[in-house]
Symmetry: C2
Subunit: 384 residues, 2 copies
């Protein structure tokens, strides 16, 4: 039962742990018990036919006197690449458009208002190779590239906000590359873009070879269904990044990612969930699935032999809520669509209870952080 | 199988999940498999006789060429109060000294170098009552109170650093109360004190009735066994608090706490562990155990009837490492001593691999955080 074959923690618990104990195990692992979302039979049938995992959960909030519920349905899509990595670039892109487009059709059947795809969803995660060609050819304009135009169609067709993380080429700034999420409103307008703020240089994630730290700050997108932000992949390791999206008003922060088992899997259930707790908001962690094979071998800076893949992307996409609860994750091995219905009123309800923003002492930290980055910083160390 | 009777998640997994799957479950839940620490029979016997949970684990690091291993043994103690809450104050304090002192004897048998007790360890967690008397009588001088003198004796006797979180009365500043951890060096000198930086106003934790946000900043204590810091209880919800201890150089951050099941239990395994990951350091989360009964009833601001206790303190103390791994927790229901041997070289090894400090962009955040606290702050919200 090794990493690649192990479907999910949730499945094992369901299989072996008796119901009496399982309730308590679920409470400890996932917080409160969530209602399953009632999904239409047509969507369930389509997911079986198209061979992907379909799950749905509800995050409820208490009724309030002055605010009606602010219910939104969010869809997260995780998927394998469709064609081999040496297929022609345009064919690879179009095959992914087709696959993910069909999953969006199912999301629409489930009443999804906002959908988010995985990081660099139109391409294999080829940055491990350090090759330029053909990978940089996958880069597109955020404003009017092929993929953005595809997302605009989906958005209009289904009255759905689409968050589309791509490799961006910025033609008006010397053709530089960026790791960027494009946000398309449900009316089909490009609301804007949000670039990955923190770039890894770890293991096979040689991404700083291709693009630099984002320069779009911490934008929040006011959609018809709520205020959203996008913290791309490695940014989830940086609590300040989450905090700043939240301070700018994000109610849901998406974390489209690409990460593999041996490197990060024990961290995966921790970081986005911690961010939901610490910032009184919903967080949505999405990871791709499968193993991607590259024709030319590459090394990983770990003394091991050159090889053709860098391990298993373990999926396990999930949503975490501000009250510390989370839903079970999608499969570790299969494509999947996770639909969660969330009442955004929960954010303020939890904030008013726990008060982390009120007790945050940001004045103190702004000052202290500024001091610590000075060259003559003297750490506050007490000695005998 | 309700909260009070459920011994631990770890126990359930061991009981029901077959070994083949359990390995993978453990990897997903706890990161890498940790070696069990070989504890002396005398310690095991003593723990049985004195009826407390004793566990030991090893966090290893890779060998380096220039630095020898920097191995330290850390002991965490979780315990119930000993006498009823209406026993005379001094008797309650002395009974806790006796109980915890005996557990420290066992820690010494296990070769512990640094021991940390739970938050406000010399008293019941009586702040739920909002009564002044007799609870404020538990407050002591950090520098030379009864409890500090007791800790000095232990430190000298066992060549052990003692972290002692107490209710402090600061006589030289108008007798104000503080929630304070006193750090005593292995030579028996008071190295200094660290006050709780973030004070809860949540549920029954009416602590701001008694003491204010700490004014000692983020001190780090250079001990013979490594650089340590103390992030008390509610401070674990604040990622900036952990960050700042780490930036000042802490290699191990203790989080002595007092927290109950329904309020925080699903958050418990997340927050200290996230801090270990995000800051490339070890974190040690300690929670008290048991239910504390108070003679006078009190209300909880939740519309429910007045009552005499505020729920089950669920123990579950654990240690998390910078590589995302953690050890199984102590019992949810019993007193316990958790001994972990950690090679502090792991911190820099993980930091050099993951680079969160290098990629942290603190200049950007110091500036942005300063802007966000201004009265005329304009959140960066993009609209249609």
């Amino acid at each position: 039962m090794s990493g690649k074959d192990f479907e999910s923690l949730e499945k094992v618990l369901e299989t072996y742990v008796p119901e009496a104990e399982r309730r308590e195990v679920r409470r400890l692992l996932f917080g409160k018990e969530l209602k399953k979302l009632n999904l239409p039979q047509s969507a369930i049938d389509a997911s079986v036919e198209q061979d992907f995992d379909l799950k749905g959960y509800v995050f409820e909030a208490s009724p309030e006197q002055l605010r009606p519920p602010r219910t939104v349905r969010v869809g997260l899509i995780q998927n394998k690449i469709v064609l081999p990595t040496d297929a022609p670039v345009l064919e690879q892109i179009k095959a992914l458009h087709k696959r993910v487009g069909e999953m969006v059709d199912v999301a629409a059947m489930c009443g999804v208002n906002i959908v988010c795809f995985q990081e660099a969803w139109t391409m294999p995660f080829a940055f491990c190779t350090r090759e330029r060609e053909p990978w940089t050819e996958f880069a597109e304009s955020a404003e009017d590239g092929l993929t953005t135009r595809f997302c605009i169609q989906l958005a209009k067709k289904y009255n759905m906000v689409v968050v589309s993380p791509i490799l961006e080429r910025d033609e008006i700034h010397s053709g530089t590359l960026w790791n960027t999420a494009v946000v398309v409103s449900n009316n089909g307008n490009v609301l804007g873009k949000s670039r990955k703020n923190h770039i890894p240089r770890v293991g096979d994630f040689n991404e700083s070879t291709y693009y630099m730290e984002g320069n779009t700050g911490h934008p929040v997108f006011q959609t018809q269904f709520g205020k959203i932000a996008v913290n791309i992949c490695y940014g989830r390791h940086h609590p300040l990044n989450w905090l700043m999206y939240s301070i700018h008003g994000a109610e849901i922060i998406f974390n489209p990612s690409a990460t593999v088992g041996l490197l990060s899997e024990p961290m995966w259930p921790i970081e986005a969930r911690n961010a939901a707790i610490a910032n009184h908001c919903f967080t949505c962690a999405i990871n791709r699935v499968g193993t991607e094979f590259f024709k030319n071998e590459f090394t990983s800076g770990d003394g091991k032999k050159a090889h053709h893949d860098f391990g298993h992307f373990y999926g396990s996409s999930y949503v975490a809520a501000p009250d510390g609860s989370r839903c079970p994750g999608l499969s570790r091995t299969r494509d999947g669509l996770l639909v969660t219905e969330m009442d955004l009123n929960l954010n303020r309800q939890v904030a008013d209870k726990w008060n982390f923003k009120m007790t945050g002492r940001y004045e103190l930290y702004a000052e202290e952080l500024k001091n610590t980055i000075q060259h003559d910083f003297k750490p506050n160390i007490l000695k005998e």
